[in-house]
Symmetry: C2
DNA sequence: CAGTGGTCTAGACCACTTA
DNA sequence: AAGTGGTCTAGACCACTGA
């Protein structure tokens, strides 16, 4: 066999330290220039190693603050009836939610279509970001049909929306159409999650229907390395 | 605002050509060195641009053969009762399947656990790769409980396994536990899909149960930019 | 064989964060 | 102001591909 590439060998050494627990979850790695010195590689090679570990979900970067060891993935059922809050508690993870905006707006065309309303018709749009164990990992954009959610804006929208929908508005028997795909983050989404533009994410789109009629559309962008989704289904 | 970075501006120009149809799906991009010349950037910048488009799923690379425009995503229901073959036909996509190996082996421990059998107990392991529109996008590893699938190896395993399970073995009323996560490809998996080690993939694990007992475990590794998953669910 | 991407060096300046 | 990652140059050699 040939000699391992310098960046792969550095990546392996860092990985070793991480799985050993020498570098625990959430801790900061040495700076890129420090790695160059310690391991006698060029900065390009050091960065290649970091990129490799990043794409494996082992580490992540915060703006220009440095590289950090990623915490374990959060497990999540996108067809959930329970709220994310409840799932976080059962996994002993700290969840924080921040309301970014809430207003009555005209949604994008695809959203209008999914809600089965005219493109000129407005909807209530709620945008939030959520952190698991202090790391922002989820950007959430919910579009609600106004007719189905009167006075929505007067409620506390930093709390569980799932509970609000269920308890204040009494929607219990819901159907969900869920779509999951890989999607690069837009500049503004990336900024809210403190990652860079174009960063890969798992995009989850959830159309909520009651009696066959759509009442809401939820879009979630999860940092791809932060989540694992689990679904139960039935074969024919 | 500041001047756009050279690599972002190059990426935007290439993206333009792709969405225009000037560079249709499947076509080859100019070589990295050609791009350096045409756009007067260093090779590093050219590569950064290509990497950005790659992470957006717009282009992909084949070994050392060059960069190519990616075809549209394949849409797929992981809780499907229909076979992938059937889904491909309804989407007018060409699907090819290649059997890589089929044998009786002792599976990894996690698999034994999921199948609820002793770690020493063997299982029938079938490995295949599948292409959509001539591009290898899926590596599939199926573990079958021997007791549930007698004489499995004597069948044609390049054909639809879904149909085989349903028609030859008569398992109709199945339950599925599905898990979806992001996972880097191992060296051997990457090689089969003609991409490089560590390439991000969507990992799908599907536990098949009949009357509450697991009879098979299927693992699928999809190139992350090639697929979109859709699921239907029920709220509480 | 020539062409391609894969890896690498040793520098440089910029933009942003934190203090 | 000091430290960090982000971007960039102009080269180089290697490993693998295809004809």
């Amino acid at each position: 066999m040939n000699q391992a590439a310098a960046y792969l060998s550095l990546a392996a050494k860092l990985q070793q330290r991480i799985v050993n627990g020498e570098l625990p979850a959430g801790s900061k790695l040495p700076s890129e220039r420090a790695l160059c010195g310690q391991f006698e590689v060029s900065r390009v090679s050091a960065r290649d190693a970091l990129h490799a570990l990043e794409s494996q979900g082992l580490i992540y970067r915060l703006n220009r603050m440095g590289w950090f060891v990623a915490p374990p993935v959060f497990i999540y059922d996108p067809t959930r009836s329970s709220s994310i809050q409840e799932e976080a508690i059962s996994q002993h993870r700290a969840l924080t939610t921040e309301l970014l905006s809430a207003a009555q707006e005209t949604p994008p065309i695809q959203v209008s279509k999914a809600l089965k309303q005219a493109p000129t018709q407005s909807a209530v749009v709620v945008t939030r970001r959520r952190a698991v164990d202090q790391r922002w990992v989820l950007l959430e954009i919910c579009y609600f049909r106004e007719s189905a959610f009167p006075d929505l804006l007067s409620h506390d929208l930093a709390k569980s929306l799932t509970a609000l929908v269920r308890e204040q508005y009494g929607y219990r028997a819901r159907e969900l159409d869920v779509s999951i795909s890989s999607s690069p983050l837009s500049p503004s989404h990336a900024q809210h999650l403190q990652v860079r533009e174009g960063c890969p994410s798992l995009k989850l789109e959830r159309q909520v229907k009651v009696a066959g009629e759509p009442i809401a559309l939820e879009r979630e962008f999860w940092l791809h390395d932060a989540i694992e989704m689990r679904v139960k289904g039935q074969g024919s």
